[in-house]
Amino acid sequence: MTDLLLKAFTKEVWDIIIPAIWETVYMTIVSTTITTFFGLLFGIVLLITDKHGLHPIPLFNKVFGSIINAVLSLPSMVVIILALPIAKLIVGITYGPKACIISLTVVCIPIFSRLVENSILEVSKGKIEAAKAMGASNIDIIFKVMLPEALPTLIRNFVVLTITLISITAIAGSFGAGGLGDIAVRYGYHRFRSDILIAAVLVLLVSVNLLQLFGALLARKILKKRHLI
């Protein structure tokens, strides 16, 4: 066992791992950026078009909410497969990191949309009403009340999103996307290279924990600054 652990730190292993780390970092950063944008947008749209929202459009809200739920209810694997035609449409191919990013975002946008919606739902009705009573427009309310008030929760959920994305890249790895997940499956599982599997898992473990820690610290810092904890 210690043997195996030691082998996981040899140069040969890390020559394989390090490029994979960069692939994972690249895919995570790009897909997180895209998902964050659309997740915020869709989350806010879901929230304000609700029957009791700032700008109720109940029918649209029902339909949109159902679509989000439908994607959420499917296993990630199925969504990735279903998203391949979309990837083909946008980047022209159905394999490799770019196509993978599209699939990843399709899986994660619905998740993040709901997380955003729930974060903002926690902002008290009274604050939103106070803004309304001062003549604030819906745009004012979204950008000056909802988002800043929900910021600490949003940051925590953003970390959840990033971690989810990292873990799903592993699944997407099976479609030739590359990255740590791909390495773990390809070498570790198919070729019984436990050393490489261990190294990949270690890197994933450490980075996910660091992210979690960083997110929690940042959220805490904001809450501290506002004297809410």
């Binding site: 009274g126 009403e129 009573a133 001062m134 800043p148 008030e149 809410l228």
Partner: protein, 263 residues
């Protein structure tokens, strides 16, 4: 923007529907409030006082009747007009409703930002108003760092920041100690005198009414059972609510409390 404020409610009904069951909360309110009035509204819990002032700035939409401010009928205002209208009506909430993400300064600046004032104007106006409500030293504090009374002052500063024509106050002074309560009431009276601000005060305390208001109305189960000058009503209360309020009030204030025989 707003013409001289003269608030007029005519046959105002407000119904809520909960699971298709109808609850009538305001049942034909008729009320006239003159410009420059400090108008008190009293009534028991659940009488509909908060609902009434929420209808005035259209946080609730009335089921029937009309509410006029000056020549504007508020339920006919377009979205744009409504926003401008609301900018000129300050409201102080019982539960403060300050933004935790902003300092006292930022909270008081909010209505000015909404009204698209320049940075410089905002800076000046906020400093001035914080001075006025006596929390200038708390300018950079977050609401989480303030006491209840300080939060209420910040709420009052926010309500007054954009020089409103009307101030709505839903038990704004109930979170304050008696001394602060008096000083805030005096402040409101002062602004009323200097700027002709029309104030509607909801309160459970007759002391507040006696100290600050010239006219008042008594609300009972969604109906105005009595209205008139404060003096008249205190000397000669007609409605049960007013009688009970005044009796409890005087009983408490002369401590007529015999052991084992609670009023």
């Amino acid at each position: 923007m707003l013409p001289p404020s003269f608030i007029e409610l005519k046959d105002v009904y407000k119904k809520f529907y909960i699971y298709n069951k109808e609850f009538e909360v305001l049942k034909g309110i008729n009320l006239e409030i003159q410009k420059g009035d400090i108008f008190g509204i009293v009534g028991f819990s659940g009488a509909g006082k908060s609902t009434l002032i929420r209808c005035i700035n259209r946080l609730e939409i009335i089921s029937s009747g009309t509410i006029r401010i000056g020549k504007y009928e508020i339920n006919k205002l377009s979205k744009k007009e409504l926003s401008l209208y609301r900018q000129k009506i300050g409201i102080i909430f019982q539960h403060f409703n300050l933004l935790d993400s902003r300092t006292v300064f930022g909270n008081v600046a909010f209505p000015l930002e909404v009204a698209k004032k320049s940075k410089k104007e905002i800076q000046e106006r906020v400093s001035e108003i914080l001075e006025l409500v006596d929390i200038a030293d708390k300018k950079d504090f977050y609401p989480g760092q303030l006491s209840g009374g300080q939060k209420q002052r910040a709420g009052i500063a926010r309500a007054l920041a954009n020089n409103p024509d009307i101030l709505l106050s839903d038990e704004a002074t109930s979170a304050l100690d008696p001394v602060s309560q008096l000083s805030v009431l005096d402040l409101l009276k002062d602004i009323n005198k200097k700027l002709g601000l029309t104030i509607i005060l909801i309160t459970h305390s007759l002391d507040v009414i006696r100290h600050a208001c010239n006219n008042m109305a008594v609300l009972e189960n969604g109906i105005i059972v009595e209205k008139g000058s404060v003096k008249e009503i205190f000397v000669n209360p007609k409605s049960d609510t007013a009688k009970v309020f005044i009796k409890i009030n005087t009983d408490l204030s002369i401590s007529k409390y015999v052991e084992g025989d609670v009023i």
